[in-house]
Symmetry: C2
Subunit: 348 residues, 2 copies
């Protein structure tokens, strides 16, 4: 048997590893003719070590040729933390207002060189969820809603999270808190209807699962605004379905209501449509006010009055996260957010 040495032209032999073998930093080091430590310094942009420009270029070139991607996990194991900000993905479908807020926040954190990761924690609750999040070793965790207790915060901090920020009605021990005054949404709606001379006020309480905590607070806000007046509040459970709205509208006159706060604009559109089909004149017989200030409310006739909700700005929140990451020892900050104001249109 004879062996012939053949020089294979470079173009047909890309310096790629065998299919499905993952290139490592050792491969990069070999191809670039440097040490693994040098590869690590260059690719992690370490400024502590001086490395010449030509060497840097050689390492980057070799990494590119091999298709080498550093392992965030390995990097965070070395660094002790990542640039990852973890948020639980919403368990219920996010409304337009919250989706916009999330988008702004991602953008703002991205500009500060963080990566936002939304974690689908379907079916996990409290500490169990915190433990699952902690496994990813995020540098900060941002938790909207009421899903986290003090034990969960402690789990996250022990696993290396430098900042935990909650968005909810109550502060959680050990975490920064953005206090969202959801009662305030109901309070301004109730006060508005009262000021318009209404005294028999219905409040829509959505039957969709996942909205209870919010709808309870909005209802409590209406009650609070009308406490000590001669107005009466009636709770109106309602599913987000045409048929349910038609059934409610059919007994509207026996309910004897002269006003309704519809939880949000989408329920407002649903109920207003059913009331109009039933011949109830809006606002003469019944004043209607929604919440969220969505475009659709402006497109209804009569135009739907609403509560405009000012969510915290993505930029402010991103800066709070960044501040908290830089100073993990600082005392938790508490901020009141969620300004509520009535946008008075034709329906009330």
């Amino acid at each position: 048997m004879r062996y012939v040495m053949v020089q294979i032209p470079k173009s047909t032999t890309p310096a790629l590893p065998a299919p499905r073998s993952v290139p490592t930093s050792a491969d990069v080091a070999r191809l670039a003719g440097v040490s693994r430590a040098t590869v690590s310094y260059v690719l992690n942009n370490t400024s502590a070590v001086r490395i010449s420009e030509p060497t840097r270029r050689r390492v980057h070139q070799a990494a590119k040729e091999l298709g080498y991607v550093p392992h965030a996990a390995a990097r965070s194991l070395r660094a002790g933390h990542s640039r990852m900000v973890l948020m639980p993905a919403p368990a219920v479908q996010a409304g337009p207002l919250y989706s916009q807020f999330l988008n702004d926040l991602q953008w703002a954190l991205g500009r500060l060189d963080y990566t936002v990761v939304q974690y689908g924690s379907v079916g996990l609750c409290d500490d169990e969820a915190a433990r699952a999040w902690a496994e990813l070793r995020p540098v900060a965790v941002l938790v909207p809603g009421v899903e986290l207790g003090p034990a969960g915060v402690a789990v996250l901090k022990r696993s290396g999270a430098r900042a935990v920020v909650t968005l909810g009605s109550e502060p959680v021990e050990g975490a920064h808190a953005l206090l969202m005054d959801h009662e305030g949404v109901g309070r301004v709606a109730g006060a508005h209807l009262h000021a318009r001379g209404r005294r028999r006020v219905g409040v829509v309480v959505p039957e969709e699962p996942g909205l209870e905590s919010l709808s309870r607070l909005r209802l409590a806000g209406v009650r609070d605004a009308l406490a000590g007046t001669d107005a009466v509040v009636t709770e109106l459970p309602l599913a987000y379905e045409e048929e349910a709205a038609a059934r409610l509208a059919a007994r509207w006159r026996e309910l004897g209501l002269d006003a309704v706060f519809t939880y949000n604009d989408e329920y407002g559109m649903l109920l207003m449509r059913a009331l109009q089909d039933e011949g109830v004149r809006i606002p003469q017989e019944t004043a209607v006010i929604g919440a969220d200030d969505l475009m659709l409310g402006r497109l209804l006739r009569p135009r739907l009055s609403t509560v405009h909700i000012e969510l915290p700005s993505g930029r402010d929140l991103a800066e709070l996260v960044d501040r908290a990451v830089r100073e993990p020892g600082a005392a938790p900050e508490t901020h009141q957010v969620l300004g509520s104001s009535v946008v008075h249109r034709e329906s009330s």
Copy 2:
């Protein structure tokens, strides 16, 4: 000076490490009186090694007491992969239809013991994005839209992703493809309007950034359906604003259109409102059809005709991902998804 030994009651001295030091598996091993390997076997649920129940209990107890959370990164470094399915978070605000799809998908993948992580890749494109995703070493990547090319797929696979699934109009080399026929949405809308006797068909093209790729395909579908007929298609750029819709409605009669496909139901609501304010009778003078089959279309008067879009079921997609993860060597699958059918209501 005298020293007094005091036995501090257990309740006030939890076996926690000093604040901010992260407990390790070595701490767990020490407290449980077992080896680190045993801790790893127990906490990773390895079935290959037999470990007695009392020992298992002791390890779990110690882990709990210390607040020890395994490091997903370390675990995936050892195992070579994770149970993480990564999806890029949508760059534009997701509509209700897509949000619902995402929720179902997360749920279905969760039931198969995967964790869905939505990655906010604001400002990254193609290979750069793929490289960023690859750093998290997901076991599968699911990419809606057109953000990934063959090079990106290769980067992901080399970093250990066993499956890459794209949802788009074209297959991408090396990836499983769910082909979404967005032209079909326009095609059925165009055919419907033609069948209703309409010949001068406007097509709304949203001016919002991020919707171009979809709206172009829907427009092409309408053109396709009407090619070779005597019908004429007019492109109608429109911003999602009342004023823009009012301006378009004001010149409606000089445009001489007898029908309009409004891209989706939300634009349908916007334009229908403006046309009605302008005194245009719907459907007599102008037939209107939207798309997405949202609740709001049913609440309009006249009720809005629409194109119902059947997205792939979360369960089917989750099963495809799971199959692909189990058999990473199998040839990429291609599936046609996105069924389109007209829901004929009062507006057309």
